[in-house]
Symmetry: C2
Subunit: 413 residues, 2 copies
Amino acid sequence: MNEYVTAAAQKAKDASFALARLNGQDKNRALHAVSDALTERRGQILAENALDVAAAKQAGNPSAFIDRLTLNEKRFDGMLATIASVIALDDPVGAYTEIKKRADGLLIGRVRAPIGVVFFIFEARPNVSVDAFALSLKSGNAVILRGGSEAVKSNTAIVKAIRAGLKKSGIPEHAVTMVENTDRQLIADFVKCTSSVDVVIARGGDALINFVRAESLIPVICHDKGLCHTYIEKDADKAMAMHIAVNAKTQRPGVCNATETLLVHHDFPHTKEIIDALIAKGVEVRGCSRTMAIIPVKSADAADWDTEYLDLIISVKIVDNIEQAIAHINRHGSRHTEAIVTSSLANAERFKEEVDAGVVMVNASTRLADGGEFGLGAEIGISNQKLHVRGPMGLLDMTTLKYVVTGNGHIRE
Amino acid sequence: MNEYVTAAAQKAKDASFALARLNGQDKNRALHAVSDALTERRGQILAENALDVAAAKQAGNPSAFIDRLTLNEKRFDGMLATIASVIALDDPVGAYTEIKKRADGLLIGRVRAPIGVVFFIFEARPNVSVDAFALSLKSGNAVILRGGSEAVKSNTAIVKAIRAGLKKSGIPEHAVTMVENTDRQLIADFVKCTSSVDVVIARGGDALINFVRAESLIPVICHDKGLCHTYIEKDADKAMAMHIAVNAKTQRPGVCNATETLLVHHDFPHTKEIIDALIAKGVEVRGCSRTMAIIPVKSADAADWDTEYLDLIISVKIVDNIEQAIAHINRHGSRHTEAIVTSSLANAERFKEEVDAGVVMVNASTRLADGGEFGLGAEIGISNQKLHVRGPMGLLDMTTLKYVVTGNGHIRE
């Protein structure tokens, strides 16, 4: 095991005990100080980011990648706004969700406590460092940040500023650790630190997620792909169905909550108009044979139903009924976000109950599955795993519930 | 990958979708039918168990092991009582924990849903099969049971009876699967079925838990060892401290929530009497040097502070203050159950806040950390992991929260 990794994880663990003792006021004061420190070093951070961006361009990365990597003035303001929104959230630590009293007077309570040490693996998006740090600090956790290699200069500058702010607030600097060496072997080592790291949160593509899952001895919360569907029932309102389908596919096609496959009931009378509207927005449509009988589009092959395009492409399948739609979703979906457009209460209830996903939408766009839209203040990702948290993962999900039992000499008889 | 494993996991997955649709009444009817089927086959099951017990005795297993393996009339009644207690619990599936309404009318709710497929690895204790099945069915999950090899005949007979009860109730028999081949390689295969198995719950010793963690691509909830401490503050009531220390160690020493190490404040005036009381109960005491200055006991070595005796042995350490006690616990404890005996509110609050464990007890015996004692009806184990659930894992913890969002044509602007 790499010595740097063991030492970094242990220092984070030590810091986590100090963080667990802070009250909300102290944490907010520290977040204000961090915000000030980032503001002071704004020019420096943007300059380091410009170096990352120049190198990534040189390396020939696609424009969507460059866009996510870039910190401009607006995104920098966004980072500060995220800190402000986390400051505005109630301190989750120490809040009781329940206290029961037994007949013999024993009090059994559950209280929110920090998780401890979070090892966070994410893509080359420097603003995510700030989101993750702010959520971790407010929930009393130490965080080890392992961002994409192309953002190392940006992240290093950001974490230096965060630590300067922490220092002013008297908080251990190991509340945040930035892994500058992006060799994958270090990930493999961090995810084996069972005595110091409590949870691994991994955002990224299939290859990275599979690597982390295979190597980790610690539970991993995965934020991987979003293969989302929108299903239009026969009784759906035409305008609403069109509005939602177009928004779900085209409002921002490169992200995980965009719709990739449209399922349509074969008795829905406006399939052609919906597809026309998508085509008019520049979408490439790949249809099943029944779709192609309605409108001449490219033919979808078997792989299409399992493809997250992250682009202006959509597959369309005509189904006989809601059973088929749900079965298709539960087979091909990535347990992220699934939507139905319907005017039938029975169909809405059935879809909500039977679809296996973190977020189920009725008469709303899949694009709304987002911590900000859900009022969580900020999110560390969208979990498409079932343990601990499903869907957008916010501040409360960065805590665990601990049983606190108070007696007066109670024993087991 | 073993074909039997892939097929069994897929059949469980298919069954899980049917289980998710059942309402509480149907599930209770099925649990009654299972209870009846077990009752009908009582003689047969006890006879199969007697064969397991005879073989285990022949193989020279220790008496505590034989005890856990044995199903007698009383334990059989206990199994039926567990089913009855699970029937009495509210159906958790479909209950909303909250529904928020956004300013634009979008409703954002969280609803309890089954996890899906649970792969459950446990020791050679046949009654645990029934507990796990009852909790899984009531929470709408399919369960794959992989019990200790010494209990295969018992478990096979039990699961046959369960399936007979399910058949009468029209519920897919793959709601429960019993893995008869106890080759460890099959465990390694099951924990890689990422598309069909949703969670792995593992009860067992360090070697088994480490094997499962290393092999699994699926999050594992571990119910491993209980290295529990009882800390006596200087201001503790003498009678209460004695009462709790003796109960925590001796009431049932062979289980995970028994206390293994006693920490005592150096100004507590009755350390000798406490140790005398333990010795009088037949406990072997191993003390630190300061303990040995108070009373001549065997000397504890470094390994003692990390040893789960599961026997009438206790290590005793004198500490300078509560900080030292908490630091010792957070370093050597297994995050299971930790207790303080004190009359000081400040000490109680500090201990509750800073000790990193699933269950923290104030003025109560560690032996009380138990799903039954906590009113959970039944438990599938005691988690000493932080993700998803800490402490006793009951019916609610066998579910996840799914976001359900209802709009009226809402889109992302």
